[in-house]
Symmetry: C2
Subunit: 318 residues, 2 copies
């Protein structure tokens, strides 16, 4: 369940567009008004607003937001306004273009591949080709070294069966294959990656449970004991995104606010991509792991319109 | 260009359905009438006929064809009547279920992955999940031994960029990677397979051309010299399906009619899947390779309504 709040009476897309265009008028921008409209509309409502805006004013809403807002607030509103598959294609591209390619950047690709539906993943790949004139896989190949490249390519190409169908004997047999690869530290072993990238998530969760039962430690703990490299970090994110995406995104929020300074890009991404998916659960997992509230963490680490927008997506009345 | 002939004045889907249901009435079936309708309609017209039939008579056209016709004729008309992505999902499943898994069966999967559009391939994977309650990749994993498994999984998961965009420096660099893998007989080398399964077909054709120019032999000839196993055979089909699908399908037809007996399944598949795609070119390639006509080969090796149906798809007046 998401945290996004939609009013009982939603204005028509035309009314929303008029509110937006009015808030852009003149020298300043009425940020409050932008938040009050876009921060309370779901993906299909935002799509209609984008389309209506284009028809009414013959220009792109995203472009206007881009030129009217600034900073982290702008980045958050722009990401929120894109069609979700276009947003994710752009996030993946940004991760692959970034100079640093640590787990902070590359985990974005794992999230798209493992914590969203098969149809969404395909739509992201299609959008990627349309936006950047090459496939997502080609950019992974060009920008990520082996063996992480191989893991990411396997994952973004998955099209998992989307229903709850679990075979306990497969869970048992494949837990053993995973275990053997981890024991011998062959984390890029073909069969290991094929299991993680072809099985449906329900089957994989059963396999991970089997793993823990049969071998004493959870699979992510065992992977961690193989080393502290990028490969191990990526695989840990893979396991979490499959096993419990809400736990993963709670961790993304935590890592983004911990210590001095804030990683706004990660914080924005976590909230924007999950606000209408499972943010209620993310909030719960955050509390279990950190014994403090996710909302307070956001309030403490952000300010101004950026804070107001994120808090709006988190369901607060601002 | 296909060979399918559609009349200038196409009856409405309702009229076509009435003709079909009349031809099914009584003890026998009017096969001529079935051929005269379905053998002259393209994919979108057949789709409307299927939908209208379901609405008018509350039963499935494919089921009725199945119970009214028989033998190879039935198999051909049923395949032709399915939605193309459902047809290919069923063909892939049949190949994976078959007791023998030689190149004759497994090449079907390469054709779907390499000789059709990215969107068609995704639609096949989606249909496969819906029809068989597991993903195509899971069935490949369960039914095909390594290393061919790895090749097929890589290919069916591709989503290639779909426009003509060629980088000559990539062609040169990747021809060298392909060459090195072939020279050292490492045909399941990760980089080798990633190139074949991520690059767009136009880029790959340029790479193959570069290969021939730089190393003297065409890449499929060089692969052949690595051995006569299933892996080499599959990779040859991959190269042909990417480089020139019409040459590949001409070869499928030739192999299906050569010697005593006929491989009706392969012959049917080649004609049904390419009749409205590129059968004109397939016919041309067949003539170049065999100095005889594809149409005569079909006439010589088939008979009865099956022959009439295939010849209708080949554009003959029967």
């Amino acid at each position: 369940m998401g945290t996004l709040r939609i009013p009982d009476m939603v204005p028509s897309p035309t009314e929303d567009c008029q509110t937006l265009v009015t808030s852009f008028k003149g020298l300043g921008t009425n940020e409050k008004s932008v938040i009050s409209v876009l921060g309370h509309r779901n993906a299909s409502q935002r799509k209609k607003i984008r389309e209506t805006y284009q028809q009414l004013y013959n220009k792109s809403l995203v472009d206007d937001i881009y030129s009217e807002l600034s900073g982290d607030f702008r980045k958050a509103v722009v990401l929120w306004t894109y069609e979700p598959f276009e947003r994710d294609a752009r996030l993946a591209n940004e991760a692959l273009k970034s100079r640093k390619k640590t787990i902070t950047q590359l985990q974005v690709i794992v999230e798209i591949a493992c914590a969203s539906s098969p149809d969404h993943l395909v739509a992201v790949r299609e959008a990627y080709c349309g936006l950047f004139n090459r496939s997502l896989e080609e950019d992974i190949t060009a920008n990520v070294p082996m063996p992480v490249q191989k893991v990411l390519i396997g994952l973004v190409r998955s099209y998992r069966y989307d229903k709850q169908l679990v075979d306990p004997s497969i869970a048992n047999a494949e837990a053993a294959i995973l275990r053997e690869a981890i024991r011998t530290k062959q984390l890029d072993f073909d069969n290991f990656l094929i299991i993680l990238s072809t099985r449906n998530v329900h089957q994989l969760r059963a396999t991970f449970e089997c793993y823990k039962k049969n071998y004493g430690f959870s699979i992510d703990q065992d992977i961690k004991s193989c080393g502290k490299g990028l490969l191990e970090s990526i695989l840990k994110v893979v396991i979490w995104c499959i096993d419990s995406p809400e736990k993963h995104f709670a961790e993304v929020v935590r890592a983004s606010v911990v210590g001095l300074g804030t990683d706004e890009d990660s914080l924005t991404r976590a909230i924007v991509t999950r606000a209408e998916v499972d943010m209620m659960k993310v909030r719960g997992e955050y509390f279990i792991a950190n014994k403090t509230s996710l909302d307070n963490a956001v309030i403490d680490d952000t300010s101004g319109d950026y804070r107001k927008f994120l808090m709006t997506l988190l369901g607060a009345k601002v």
